[in-house]
Amino acid sequence: MNNQEKLIEIKDLKKHFHLKRHTTLQAVDGVTLDIYRGETLGVVGESGCGKSTLGRTLIRLYEPTAGEVVYNGKDVANRLTKKEERQFQKDVQMIFQDPYSSLNARMTVSEIISEGIRIHEPSLSRKEVEARVHQLLDSVGLHKRFSNRYPHEFSGGQRQRIGIARALAVNPEFIIADEPIAALDVSIQAQIVNLLKELQEEKGLTYLFIAHDLSMVKHISDRVAVMYLGGVVELSTSDDLYHDPLHPYTQALLSAIPVADPKIERSRERIILEGTVPSPIDPPSGCRFRTRCPHAMDICAQVAPQWKEQKPNHFVACHLYNEDVEVDE
């Protein structure tokens, strides 16, 4: 996959929130990632691991504390001219988790969807905008007669379709989907996931798909990044990650997911992690996972592990794969 064109390069991105004097919450702490054009990169992790903050920092909803986001060869994390900012806002769109709170209850569907079009393409006539809205509604599987209704008249799945239509309205090339299916019923989740995939093929979109449901992430993603306490601990193609997880956290996370198959479920060995995720206000020294890691060694407390390509296209940050360290089995 290395021969593909990089759409986004994230270099050592950090986002710290200052809470009180002398306390800083390190929500995202040193993430380095590339996102290729046309792929779906899944980001998984437990609540509080920084996956949503990563998405929101990428789209400039938060200002990064440090680091770079290179988008199409240009650093967009820091200062931008008005024109560049406008272009970026048009190119990158977001789909939110909660279809109930992410749509303005006092705007009609057509107003919600056309808001971006009117800002970015003010030269269009009202008729042209209306035609675009109808075409967008059609592409997300809603009837055009819905365009004058208000969000409360729709079910959760339909609202999420409106959210997707809004994101597509300005012809973006990169979409950040932050838990787009978490609030939906199982039978509706599959509808939305299929819709996202169809749209990707049709329009050549690139997705950053943030979720905690690992089986859905595996299904939709080409590559998956696993986050723990503000850092990416493993990154690989999704099949390789599920068959050969290298990081102890990924292994535990995968084994914790109940599989919808009673026979597999009965024979499975589960790695149960002790305790809970430490606070990102005062994270552990060295490797951040060491407090819950079943393989923790002395070095884990002293040195943060290096980000390393253990296999082609399979990166991991763990001392178990560091040749200089002796691993006692």
Partner: protein
């Protein structure tokens, strides 16, 4: 096996501003002693209403039980008055709710909340209740139980809070534990901890469990028997193997094939169930699933199907099981590795 709880023909409606909404329409299921029944279904299918009817926790002023029985060891709980019911709740049958933040009292210490049930139901002195509560906190795997007794819910993390709720629910060694989406608000690693805890306690105390969930993975992990609910009815019920490998109802097929399979590599597009669940405020003619069902026949739109018995433990409410119906094979993909 002995049945400890039987729910028969339960029919419940809610009063709303435009008339009565029929939320349960003849629900039947039973729970075996020491066994686990999972109830699955989408939101609005009546899973939680069934549980709350068993516990009589529905608001009296706008919910009506039209018909049916809830037999707990042969006694119909629906004939109990509030005073008698208070004796059942927490001691014979107890409940764990989805959100541990709203089911704990934020102004009361954890210790006091656990002791409350013990003092109410078991003739214990304060000292004995205190010691039992400390033991329970220890049992659910929280360290330093003595000092934790004095702490308040906000001082605990989500997973810890749910452990406290489980500790409260098992304090009086109930015969039945009803868990309504106990892990939906939790992360997977914490979910695994809580599910394991519930299974351990079941083995120790021989409690029966009713677990309500929409996660088929949790079902496969926990249950011996499964009831699938749709629009206020149990559409299919059977053992966990019958449901996963030999299901007969198109809705169950739909649920199984709309889930991504973690253990398989091929990226076949998911097969979603088209449309959305019916609006219960409108009267439903025939089978409620018919408008979304790819196999719907003429009869499905006009007549409600009976429960057809497939085996002693397996029943499905679908006209396809009638002898006059055409033979329909379950779509490929629902029989997950059935021959392994």
């Amino acid at each position: 096996m002995d049945e400890i709880l039987q729910v028969k023909d339960l029919d419940v409606s809610f009063k709303t501003y435009n008339g009565e909404t029929n939320v349960l329409r003849g629900v039947n299921f039973s729970v075996q002693k020491g066994g686990t029944l999972a109830i699955v279904g989408e939101s609005g299918s009546g899973k939680s209403v069934s549980a709350k009817t068993i516990m009589q926790l529905l608001p009296k002023q706008n919910s009506i039980v039209n018909n049916g029985e809830v037999l707990f060891e042969g006694e119909n709980l629906l004939t109990y008055n509030e005073r008698e019911m208070r004796k059942v709740r927490g001691s014979d049958i107890s409940m764990v709710f989805q959100d541990p933040m709203t089911s704990l009292n934020p102004t009361m210490s954890i210790g006091k909340q656990i002791m409350e049930g013990l003092l109410e139901h078991q003739n214990l002195s304060k000292k004995q209740a205190y010691d039992t509560a400390v033991g329970l906190i220890d049992l659910v795997g929280i360290s330093n139980p003595e000092s934790r007794m004095k702490e308040y819910p906000h001082q605990f993390s989500g997973g810890m809070r749910q452990r406290i709720v489980v500790a409260m629910a098992i304090a009086c060694k109930p015969r039945i534990l009803i868990a309504d989406e106990p892990t939906t608000a939790l992360d997977v690693t914490i979910q695994a901890q809580i599910l394991d805890l519930m299974k351990d306690l079941q083995n120790q105390l021989d409690t029966s469990i009713i677990i309500i969930t929409h996660d088929l993975g949790v079902v496969a992990n926990m249950a011996q028997r499964v009831a699938v609910m749709y629009a206020g009815r149990v559409v299919e019920i059977g053992t966990v193997d019958e449901l996963f490998y030999e299901s007969k109802h198109p809705y169950t097929w739909g649920l199984l094939s709309s889930m991504p399979k973690l253990h398989e590599d091929e990226r076949e597009p998911l097969v979603p169930i088209v449309g959305s669940p019916p609006d219960l405020e409108q009267p439903i003619q025939g089978c409620p699933f018919a408008p979304r069902c790819p196999y719907a026949m003429k009869v499905c739109h006009s007549h409600m199907p009976e429960d057809f018995s497939v085996s002693d433990t397996h029943a499905s409410a679908c006209w396809l099981l009638d002898e006059r119906a055409p033979e329909v094979k379950a779509p490929v993909g629902t029989e997950v590795n059935a021959n392994e």
